[in-house]
Symmetry: C2
Subunit: 338 residues, 2 copies
């Protein structure tokens, strides 16, 4: 079933797969943004959001994609802004964005709550229907205030290659903030990709029966983020599974392997009302001098967050996620060696 | 490279791949819509729009997708409505829709042109910035008028399986209109899929090196549409290629194979300003009695449509496409045996 893959380390990946054309331009924007926020004494969080595509052709028609509308990332970005963070919102093109996410064209189209007021003879005016006015005013006020204060920088990616290059570049720029920076990696990133060197130039023709695709593994860049790119930043990754039995063991494995701060685990079907924070146990209940741990104490600690949508249907679990993370990040930032 | 595929005819496809859960509900809506339009003496066009996904898991996390924001379909639907057609707009969830397409969250976010007017003491009001008012008023007027007259029915699909079942059901309902129905198949439909029987239940794990996917061919349902589902409807299909040399030959092959009315060919990079209508030559320049064709006359005829975006930057080629199709459809409908 699985034939010989090419193994890409992060290093070999960046050495062989070319950068997106607009990378330098975006890096400059990030640099200016980080400098401004540092001056204004704000913490900065990088929020990644949406899925990544894996093109199958150089002139891309077909691609492998990951399920993600970008709800988690867009919603979280709003709560980070509310908590006083400056946000670099790095999202998949056309996935949801903070503020405008409330008015999805499919579920809550804004054209539906605009009215044309035609008074005889005068020019027609556009107004908002009364039942929608309060909510729109709230969203609009937050939106205008964020734009006025310059605390939101939006960056776009499409392919997993765009994502990887942009993530590295943004992390490196943000690393000057050291422990005051947070990295909230909510994007659903493909585990597999097709190296440029293996892609066909044109649309794969379908005349030949079945389609056969073989992809290589995307390098695990979280290790490089922790060790090389971020200088002690607070790193939060996500683990989405459909098999609940895999969630905790895979979160443990990720923390062991990459050494970052938190894995937020979520089951595909329960993610709107239940997540689990998995982190390493900071104070193992044992004798540090002898190096012996109490066997009853796990190396890892799980903290479940649940909300009850039956009682509070408009509550968003991201509100609680961000509040918990802000608390943990404050603790982490205190340890900064100035 | 290519191993033995399972070959699905349209018949074997529908016999083995289950229908989407909401199909019956949507069929009822279509039936009522068609009855109403027939009564009001309107032609009806089915517009399909956006790409289709091919899930790789039953609990879907990953999928193969086709490039399509749904611009062609959403824009065309507006021009069909303008031309007096009733439109069944069958589109991929989250792809662009008629009217709201003008206000993409990424390129023209509507929150940007709303203002908060705060007069001292009074309740704040929301208004539209003056420079955007005229255009929004135009879009909004068309939108409200279409909703008031009930000439737009919107249906949603996600996977290629949803698409195929819905297309068959809608076509069969619409077939009662015979030659007064048009089928405008602008959706980018996957050529390959993974039969339900071959899918893994959970997210494919990435620990094992490379990813190996083998897909079967989606049945060519255009043949069934022409022969069985539509009863003389006017059928327009699309052919998108990145290699311009393939465009015309592939359009000819499609017309030969399926026997429908028009293939609109477009090159991926030129599709906003150039398309080609390919159809069979209605009056071959030869002696029908002897069955001998003049060898200089092709069986097919190409009609190129081009617009000059440098001169008219806001012109949309769909305006000309729909006007040409409406003309051809009128000719076609005249031949109806009453």
């Amino acid at each position: 079933m699985h034939s010989e893959p090419t193994t890409f380390s992060a290093e070999s990946y960046f050495a062989t797969q070319g950068p997106p054309p607009n990378l330098e331009h975006e890096v400059s924007a990030v640099r200016a943004f980080v400098a401004q926020q540092t001056q204004q004494n704000r913490n900065v969080v990088l929020v990644t959001s949406g899925g990544t595509t894996v093109p199958l052709e150089l002139n891309v028609v077909r691609f492998l994609d990951n399920f993600s509308a970008g709800t988690r990332g867009a919603t979280s970005a709003e709560y980070f802004l509310k908590a006083g963070y400056a946000v670099i919102f790095m999202h998949r093109q056309f996935s949801l964005q903070p503020f405008s996410r409330h008015y999805s064209h499919s579920t809550n189209p804004f054209l539906d709550f605009l009215e044309i007021d035609q008074t005889d003879g005068s020019e027609p005016q556009i107004s908002v229907t009364p039942d929608k006015r309060t909510h729109l005013l709230e969203v609009l006020t937050a939106y205008k205030s964020v734009h006025a204060s310059g605390t939101l920088l939006t960056l776009t990616f499409v392919t997993v290659n765009d994502y990887l290059w942009l993530l590295r570049a943004v992390s490196q720029e943000l690393s000057v903030m050291r422990r005051r920076a947070m990295y909230y990696l909510a994007a659903a990133v493909s585990d597999f990709f097709l190296p440029r060197q293996k892609m066909s130039e044109h649309k794969i023709q379908s005349g030949k029966g079945s389609l056969h695709i073989e992809m290589d593994q995307v390098p695990k860049i979280l290790k490089s983020m922790v060790d090389e790119w971020t200088h002690d930043g607070f790193i939060v990754s996500f683990k989405l599974e459909t098999d609940p039995l895999l969630l905790i063991p895979k979160a443990h494995a990720a923390l062991e392997r990459y050494g970052h701060q938190v894995v937020i685990g979520n089951d595909l079907h329960r993610r709107k009302f239940e997540v689990v924070f998995v982190s390493r146990n900071a104070q193992p209940d044992g004798d540090a001098s002898t190096g012996k741990l109490n066997e009853a104490t796990s190396t890892f600690v799980e903290h479940w967050l649940r909300i009850d949508l039956a009682c509070e249907p408009s509550k968003e679990i991201e509100e609680d996620i961000i509040s918990e993370l802000v608390r943990r990040h404050e603790e982490w930032a205190k340890k900064q060696i100035v």
